[in-house]
C-alpha cells in the first residue's frame, strides 16, 4: 500500500529502543561547524520558541520569525488545561507505554507508532525542563507537583498552572528564546510573515518574509527551514484559534513540494461558549479540565428543552429526574471524560434531536452544582464543621471551585453575562485543533529536503483525534528534545554548504512572485471585504466538512469552494497600499490560502470512506451511532501531493501496529 515517494525513516529495533539507539547513532555536527550553519524557524509558539532557543543553545545561528508583535503572543499562550507526561508521580500505574497506548487509541489508530512512543518517552523531560526554567506549575502543600485528569485516560498525568498552562509554558520557552536573542545567537523578526519558501536544487534554502510594518519584502537564507506555524482551524472562520492563526507558511511549503498529511482530521472541541450572533469573530474554549468536575446534560423531555429555548424555564428549575446526563448514560466507564470527538458528537446528536438549550438550540449544559456540593462537604469535614447547613456547604464548595477553575469561570461570566457558580454554563462544540498538517518522517522532515515541520503544523502524533493536554506536550517535545537531534542527520551533510547570497535567482524569482500576488490582491479593487469571503468559506466548511460529513455534502462543498475562490480573486476589496502596515492585505493573503486548503480538506474527507476520530462520515457508523473504522482499507496516512493548479495526487503511508493490538475504540 505504501508509496515509494514516502519513506518514514523509522529506525530499526524494538519500539522502546528505537529512539535511544537513534540518538546514539545520529550523525553530529561539531561545534565549529555549527557556528556557520544558519537555521530559519517560522513561528514562535511552544514548538517554534523551544526549537529556536535549543538550536541556538547548541551553537547554530538561528533566525526566528513571527507575525505577532512579540514571540510571546503565539497562540500556544491560550492553551488552558495542561500538559501530559508519563511521570507516574501519582503512583496510579502510569508509564511510557500507557501514555503511548492512550495516545494511539485516542487517535483512533491513525498515528505512527514510532513517533508516538518517542513522544511518550520524552514527555517527562519536558516537565523537568519547564520546572528548571521557573514555570510555576500547580503544587501540593508538600511542595510536589500536582496532577489532574483529562479526557481519554484513566490516570492522572496532566500537569497544569491553574487555567493558564499554555501561557506559563510559552513564557518559559519565550524566556529561553529571549536569552538567546540577548546573547546574539537568535535574530528575532517579529511582525514578519513568511510569504514563501525558497528552494535551490530541490532543497529548502530560505524564505521570503514580509515586514508587516513597512510592507517590505525580505530574503532570508537558511541551511534548513523549520516550520512551526501552527494549525489551520481558521479555515472555518469561527474557531478557538487566534484571529491571526493561518495556514500560509505550511501551504506555501505544500505548494513547493511538501506533502500534506490527513488534511481532513480536524478536532472539534466539545466545551466552547456557544455562538451569540452574526457579529461573532471567534469562539472561546472552556478548558477540558472542567469536565473533571462538571457534569454535562440536556433536558430529558423535549417540552422542557423547548421551554428553555423560549426563555420560559431556567435550568435550575428542571428536576434531577428530568435531566439527561447523556455522556454518563452512554459511556459509563469514562462518563464526562470521554475523548473530545466522542463528547462533541454526543452533544450534536442531542441538539439535532431537539434537546438543545440556548435560544439557538445549539448548546448543552455543563453543570457544577454537584461538584460544588461535593467539595463543600469535603471542606466542611476538613474544617471540623459538623452537620453544616446547605448554605455553608455551597459557600465552601464555591471557594474550592474558584481555587481550581476561577479564571475560567470569570471568563465565562465576562463573555456571557451569566454567573456560572449559580447557573449551569452553556457549551457547544467548536473547531479547535487540526491533527492534519505537513507530512513528516521520523526526523520531522517534510518531503522537501531541509524543510521541517514541528508542533501542530505537522501531522504526526495525534492520528485522527488528539487527547487533551497532548498538544503542549508535542510542541515542546518536538522543539526541546526531538528536532534538535534529528536535524543533525541532515545538517551533518551540509557543513560544506556556504551561505548562499540572497541575490541568487531562486530568491529573486520567489520574491517577484510574492510581489505579483500582493499587487494582484491590491489591484482587484472589488466590492466585498476579505471577511465576507472568509465567513462564507467558514460556513461551507462547518456545514459540510465539520463535525459530520457525507459524500454528497463534500462534493457540493468542493464545487462551492471553487466558485467562491473564483469570486474572491475577482471581487475582493483590499484597501490601502502594499508598502505599509496593512492588516486587510495580511488577511487577504491568508484567506487566499484557506480557499485552496478548504478544497483539499473536502477531497481528503471524501476519499476516506470510514469514520475515525474527528472524521465522522455519516455513511459509516454503527447502529448506536459510533464511528465505524475501516482498518482493511484506510489504515494509512493520506499524504497529498500538489501536482498542478489545485490538482492533487494521493500518496499513502501504511500504518503498521506492531506493539498495540488494533481494536474498536470503546469508552463504554
Amino acid at each position: 500500500m505504501s508509496n515509494s515517494k514516502l519513506d518514514a525513516r523509522i529506525p530499526e529495533g524494538s519500539i522502546d529502543q528505537k529512539w535511544t539507539k537513534y540518538k546514539s547513532t545520529v550523525p553530529l555536527v561539531n561545534p565549529a561547524n555549527k557556528r556557520h550553519i544558519e537555521i530559519i524557524v517560522v513561528g514562535t509558539g511552544l514548538a517554534g520558541a523551544s526549537a529556536a532557543s535549543t538550536l541556538a543553545e547548541m551553537g547554530y545561528k538561528v533566525k526566528a520569525f513571527c507575525f505577532q508583535d512579540s514571540p510571546r503572543r503565539a497562540h500556544s499562550i491560550a492553551a488552558q488545561g495542561g500538559i501530559n507526561a508519563a511521570k507516574n508521580y501519582q503512583n496510579d500505574g502510569d508509564s511510557v507505554y500507557r501514555l503511548f497506548y492512550d495516545t494511539i487509541k485516542g487517535g483512533d489508530y491513525r498515528a505512527r507508532e514510532a513517533n508516538v512512543h518517542r513522544l511518550a518517552e520524552v514527555s517527562g523531560n519536558i516537565i523537568d525542563q519547564c520546572v528548571a526554567q521557573g514555570v510555576p506549575f500547580a503544587r501540593e502543600y508538600g511542595g510536589l507537583l500536582s496532577n489532574r485528569s483529562f479526557g481519554g485516560t484513566q490516570v492522572q498525568r496532566t500537569f497544569y498552572a491553574a487555567g493558564q498552562t499554555g501561557q506559563q509554558l510559552l513564557l518559559g520557552a519565550y524566556s529561553s528564546l529571549q536569552r538567546q536573542v540577548g546573547m546574539g545567537n537568535v535574530q528575532m523578526f517579529a511582525r514578519h510573515e513568511m510569504m514563501d519558501v525558497v528552494l535551490i536544487d530541490g532543497k529548502a534554502r530560505g524564505i521570503i518574509a514580509r515586514d508587516l510594518i513597512s510592507g517590505k519584502l525580505e530574503r532570508h537564507f537558511g541551511h534548513a527551514v523549520v516550520l512551526a506555524s501552527g494549525g489551520y482551524g481558521n479555515v472555518f472562520f469561527l474557531s478557538t484559534n487566534a484571529m491571526g492563526s493561518n495556514v500560509t507558511a505550511a501551504w506555501k511549503a505544500h505548494k513547493k513540494g511538501a506533502f500534506f498529511g490527513n488534511p481532513c482530521f480536524t478536532q472539534i472541541h466539545p466545551t466552547c461558549i456557544p455562538v451569540s450572533g452574526d457579529h461573532q469573530s471567534k469562539l472561546t474554549l472552556m478548558s477540558e479540565s472542567l469536565r473533571n468536575d462538571g457534569r454535562i446534560w440536556v433536558p430529558a423531555r423535549k417540552e422542557d428543552a423547548e421551554a428553555v429555548r423560549a426563555g420560559k424555564l431556567k435550568p435550575n428549575d428542571i428536576a434531577e429526574e428530568h435531566r439527561d446526563y447523556y455522556l454518563e448514560r452512554r459511556y459509563p466507564a469514562f462518563g464526562n471524560l470521554v475523548p473530545r470527538d466522542v463528547a462533541s458528537r454526543a452533544a450534536k446528536e442531542r441538539c439535532d434531536a431537539g434537546f438543545g438549550v440556548n435560544a439557538t438550540g445549539q448548546a448543552v449544559y455543563l453543570d457544577y452544582a454537584s461538584a460544588i456540593e461535593r467539595y463543600g462537604k469535603i471542606e466542611a469535614n476538613k474544617q471540623n464543621i459538623h452537620n453544616p447547613d446547605k448554605a455553608t456547604i455551597i459557600s465552601l464548595g464555591k471557594a474550592v471551585v474558584k481555587e481550581k477553575y476561577g479564571n475560567l469561570f470569570d471568563m465565562y461570566e465576562q463573555i456571557t453575562g451569566v454567573n456560572p457558580y449559580n447557573e449551569p454554563m452553556q457549551i457547544y462544540p467548536a473547531v479547535h485543533y487540526t491533527m492534519g498538517g505537513l507530512w513528516v518522517d521520523y526526523n520531522l522532515m517534510t518531503t522537501v529536503p531541509g524543510m521541517y515541520a514541528i508542533g501542530e503544523a505537522n501531522f504526526s502524533d495525534h492520528g485522527a483525534n488528539r487527547l487533551g493536554a497532548s498538544a503542549l506536550m508535542q510542541g515542546l517535545a518536538d522543539g526541546y528534545f526531538v528536532l534538535p537531534y534529528t536535524i543533525g542527520a541532515y545538517l551533518s551533510g551540509e557543513i560544506r554548504t556556504k551561505s548562499i547570497p540572497t541575490d541568487h535567482e531562486a530568491f529573486v524569482d520567489a520574491e517577484a512572485k510574492v510581489r505579483q500576488t500582493i499587487d494582484t490582491l491590491i489591484n482587484i479593487k472589488g466590492t466585498k471585504s476579505v471577511d465576507h469571503f472568509h465567513k462564507r468559506l467558514g460556513k461551507i466548511m462547518w456545514d459540510k466538512c465539520g463535525m459530520a460529513r457525507n459524500a454528497e455534502g463534500l462534493k457540493t462543498a468542493i464545487t462551492e469552494i471553487q466558485q467562491l475562490r473564483e469570486e474572491f480573486w475577482k471581487n475582493v476589496r483590499v484597501p490601502g497600499e502594499a508598502n505599509e502596515l496593512n492588516t486587510e492585505l495580511e488577511k487577504a493573503a491568508r484567506v487566499a490560502d484557506f480557499l485552496e486548503l478548504g478544497e483539499l480538506m473536502c477531497m481528503d474527507a471524501l476519499n476516506r470512506n470510514e469514520s475515525c476520530g474527528g472524521h465522522f462520515r455519516e455513511e459509516f457508523q454503527t447502529e448506536e451511532g459510533e464511528a465505524q473504522r475501516d482498518d482493511a482499507n484506510y489504515s494509512y496516512v493520506a499524504a497529498w501531493e500538489l501536482t498542478g493548479n489545485n490538482q492533487w495526487t494521493l500518496n499513502k503511508e501504511e500504518l503498521k501496529y506492531e506493539n498495540i493490538k488494533i481494536a474498536a475504540r470503546s469508552y463504554k
Binding site: S70, P71, Q129, Q133
Partner: protein, 250 residues
Amino acid sequence: MKITLKVWRQKNTNAKGQFETYKLDHVSEDMSFLEMFDVLNEQLINEGKEPVVFDHDCREGICGMCSMYINGRPHGPKHGVTTCQLHMRSFKDGDIIVVEPWRAAAFPVLKDLAVDRSSFDRIMAAGGFVSVNAGNAQDANNLPIGKEVADEAFMSAACIGCGACVAACKNASAMLFVSAKVSQLALLPQGQPEAKRRALAMVNQMDAEGFGACTNTGACSAECPKEISLSNIARLNREFLSAGFTAQAE
C-alpha cells in the same frame, strides 16, 4: 444600541494624527469591544475608506496583544479585563467612546491604535530568564517548592505583557511589568542564583528604553487586566537595592 466613536487615526509613526468620529447604529450588547471594531471596519471598507488598524490576536484575554485606551483607561472601564474581553453590555445606548493608542515614549505609535512594544522584549532579553539549557534539568520533583511560594510566583507570572501598566502611569513607567518577572523568578529557588544580576540588568534596560520613573501612585496595578500586585514593585526595589550594595565590579 447606537454608539459614537472618536478614534485616533495616524498614518504611521512619523505622521501627525487626529481623532475621527464614527457612528454605529446596530451594536449588540453581546459583542465584544473588538467585534464592535470589526463592524466599524466592515462599514469603512464598504464605504471605500481605510479600516482602523488595531492590535489583537487571541481574543480571549491571554495573548496581551490588544491595547486600546478607552475613555481614558487602558482596556476600558471594567476591572481585571482586557479590551477583547470587554463587552458592549458595559456601555449604554447613545454613549460616546474615545479610543486612543497606548501613549508612552517607549511605545511609539505604528499606525492608528497599534504601538511598538518591542522594548518589553528587549527588557526580557536583558535578564528575564533562568539560564538553563535544554537537557540540563533534574527530575522535577527533586525540588519541592511550598504551595504558598509557588502560588505567589504564579500570581506574578500571570502578567501578559500588554503594557497597560505603562499606559496607565503618568510617568509611563514599566516597573510593574519588570517587577512581575523579577518577582516570579526571585521567589522560586530556580531563579535565585541569578536574582541580583537579573534585577540590575532588567532595570538598566528599562531605563535605556526610555520608560519613566516609578512614583508609587499605583495606577499600574489598578488598571492591570491581570491584577498584578504592587507588592511586586516593592520586591523589585528590594532586589535592586541589595544588588546595588553587593554588586562586584565586573
